[in-house]
Symmetry: C2
Subunit: 155 residues, 2 copies
């Protein structure tokens, strides 16, 4: 069962390259043994740097289900998710993720996954893309407003 | 200048809560002193767990510019980006990010940002969402196909 779904993800990832559509990545989301979404990397085809296979599969599965939470579903990804996709997986509350290629394999093929993982462990000011704090006192009002808001939908 | 753009991001984040639309987060992307995209969190409004303000702003800026790379632009985010958004920022190749609230502030308000940062540092098998390796040998074919592909668009 697991190999069946992963073989499909791998086949999609290879087809995505050979068709010239995009990068060598694909992902499936499976709920109760049924595929509810499958997606390939379409960063260059759609001019969207967030259009990794995992993010696109999550968006498709949530859109089809009309909910922002995929608890009870699992993902089969042709490659270890990058930090962006792993974050998306946490926000979507998937149960678990099967992956084939590793972040190191992706790095060897010229993708930045491993670099981004290393960057996350560095102090803000030392990163290639610096993170600069500004106006926290003013911004805290947003969280006070959130706390005070009635009938809000948590996520 | 920096305070002007951040004040706008903060105002949008507060308005997003008070209007009942979504979470207390907003982000702007600025190129050459001009706002090219602004966005708020619309996870619950759009049933999309990836629809954080930063991701949505990047998608909008890239869509408007017709490119998948925002080198030369900067982001003003009302809160420190979560790992998903930080990953998106790297893939979009923004120059730098100004942020106001911290990940700890977001955690205090009930959001999972800090938890996800901690999870990224744990071994795969010990995470709340386990990452399980499967069929790497078969999947490596996708990277061989990528290497062999002519006229591919790198990203």
């Amino acid at each position: 069962m697991h190999n069946h779904f992963m073989a499909r993800a791998i086949a999609l990832s290879i087809e995505n390259v050979r068709s010239g559509r995009g990068g060598p990545f694909a992902a499936l989301i499976v709920e109760d043994g049924k595929v509810v979404a499958e997606a390939v990397n379409c960063v260059t085809a759609s001019n969207d740097p967030t259009a990794h296979a995992e993010v696109t599969a999550i968006r498709a599965a949530c859109g089809a289900a009309g909910k922002f939470d995929l608890a009870g579903s699992v993902m089969y990804a042709s490659c270890e998710p990058c930090p962006m996709c792993l974050g998306a997986i946490y926000w979507a509350r998937l149960d678990r993720v099967y992956f084939a290629n590793t972040a190191a394999d992706a790095a060897n093929a010229g993708f930045d996954d491993a670099l981004i993982y290393r960057e996350l462990a560095r102090p803000f000011a030392d990163r290639k893309i610096p993170l600069i704090p500004l106006m926290r006192d003013e911004a805290l009002e947003a969280f006070r407003a959130w706390e005070a808001q009635r009938d809000k939908i948590g996520y």
